[in-house]
């Protein structure tokens, strides 16, 4: 396999990383909203959030992508396939991240919240200064895990025609008749990306302050 082919794969992997990063960030924002709904103690908010999470965790990502890709034109929205891909990945990761966040908020030590109330912090201050930082700190390892899952899952957007790493590998394998080398090289690139994410995650986690008990 020539250097030129490997360069093409590396170039395509930029799309893989970009799509994953954007999806994780959008998913994170949606997850904040969803976990807020789950913790709201109001059926009106909890039930829709639960149905959303159940659906996006219960249906294979590939089917979600096919649905979004084919449904959007059917309701009159013609978007480029990369947008459909990002929408699909974001909604899917939002469902998983929301569950993690709910767990994080539920494990904030009650004592801390009570002492914050004692010293007269307002509910808004308690959320911003106590609950949110601790919950995010607690869910950070799960977030890194989710990032790796999404990086791998982003290979599925090749099916809706986005030219990222997997799709590029498929096209090159078809045109060069070197599927073994090319898919192995693509796998290696995924492995290195995930390895970097895991290392960076470990590094950041170690530099974050611990959680008081």
């Amino acid at each position: 396999m020539s250097i030129k082919l490997f360069e093409l794969l590396l170039y395509a992997s930029i799309y893989t990383v970009a799509i994953s990063v954007v999806s994780i960030l959008i998913g994170f924002a949606i997850a904040i909203l969803l976990s807020g709904m789950l913790l709201s103690k109001k059926r009106l908010f909890i039930t829709p959030a639960q149905i959303f999470i159940s659906f996006f965790r219960g249906v294979p990502l590939l089917v979600q992508l096919l649905l979004i890709y084919n449904m959007l034109p059917a309701i009159g929205l013609n978007v480029p396939s990369i947008v459909a891909a990002i929408v699909g990945l974001s909604l899917c990761t939002a469902a998983y991240q929301a569950e993690n966040m709910r767990g994080g908020f539920a494990s904030v030590p009650v004592g801390l919240i009570e002492s914050a109330e004692m010293v007269g912090l307002t509910p808004g201050q308690i959320f911003r200064r106590i609950k949110a930082p601790i919950a995010l700190r607690l869910t950070f390892p799960a977030l890194v895990n989710e990032a790796i899952l999404i990086l791998k899952a982003s290979s599925l957007v090749s099916v809706v025609g986005v030219i990222e790493l997997t799709r590029m590998a498929q096209d090159l394998a078809g045109s060069t008749f070197l599927p073994l080398q090319i898919f192995a090289a693509a796998g290696l690139i995924y492995l290195v990306i995930n390895w970097i994410v895991a290392l960076a995650g470990d590094f950041i986690e170690r530099s974050l302050p611990g959680v008081p008990r």
Binding site: V59, S155, T166
Partner: protein, 222 residues
């Protein structure tokens, strides 16, 4: 946007066959993955330093690369090394090996959770290694590994949809084809999503029921 369910009703036999293939791959693949994963975990625990490192490396590669890439490697790369597989066996082998990597990690942590004292006690009364595995490790860790194993089974079911890409005639492939032929994507994909959603919900609830019914069989709290 129209929604004509008759398109689906006319194709019921084909859909049933696709659903059958999905469930078949899921059940056979999960069982095979769990069995292979168990032996990998045993090999890593008892097979010495070198075997542990080699298997650990393979597991890391399988867990660090997308399933789709692995499947492409087997299905499109296989013929170049004399491995000519039809889509269905290629998919079954793929999902078994992919799942085995995850199951081996589940069993490995199960082994680690069994208190050392129990194993040492077994060694003291003269049990052989295989007796320790069968009589102490296996029964004591079963309840610990049950929840993550059921979770993994659900993940594998969703993963079977990916096999449609290498033309395994399972449900996703069947319904996508119906959608394309009849130009009825909305109907076909809605049925498809509902099928998986219901199956995942049922499996999840059953698993939860089994877990709560069996908690009294736990040997210790870990």
């Amino acid at each position: 946007m129209t929604f004509d369910i008759n398109v689906i009703r006319d194709q019921l036999p084909a859909i049933a066959s696709g659903a059958g293939v999905t469930v078949l791959i899921w059940v056979v693949g999960t069982i095979a993955a769990a069995v292979i994963g168990f032996f990998v975990a045993v090999g890593r625990r008892f097979g010495g330093f070198l075997l542990d490192k080699v298997l650990g490396f393979i597991v890391a590669v399988l867990r660090g690369t997308p399933f789709l890439i692995q499947i492409f490697l087997v299905y499109y790369g296989g013929p170049f090394i004399g491995l000519n597989l039809d889509p269905l066996p290629a998919g079954l082998i793929g999902i078994s090996i992919y799942g085995a990597a995850y199951y081996s990690e589940i069993f490995r942590s199960g082994f680690l959770a069994v208190p050392k004292g129990h194993i040492e006690a077994g060694e003291c009364v003269g049990l052989t290694q295989s007796q320790i595995i069968r009589r102490i490790l296996l029964p004591e860790m079963t309840m610990l590994v049950l929840p993550p194993s059921l979770n993994m089974a659900v993940l594998l079911m969703k993963e079977t949809a990916v096999l449609s890409i290498i033309t395994v005639p399972e449900l996703t492939a069947t319904l996508s084809a119906i959608g394309a032929q009849q130009y009825a994507f909305v109907e076909a994909l809605t049925v498809l999503a509902l099928f998986y959603w219901i199956l995942v919900e049922i499996t999840g609830r059953l698993g939860h029921l089994v877990e709560t019914k069996l908690t009294r069989f736990r040997f210790f709290n870990a």
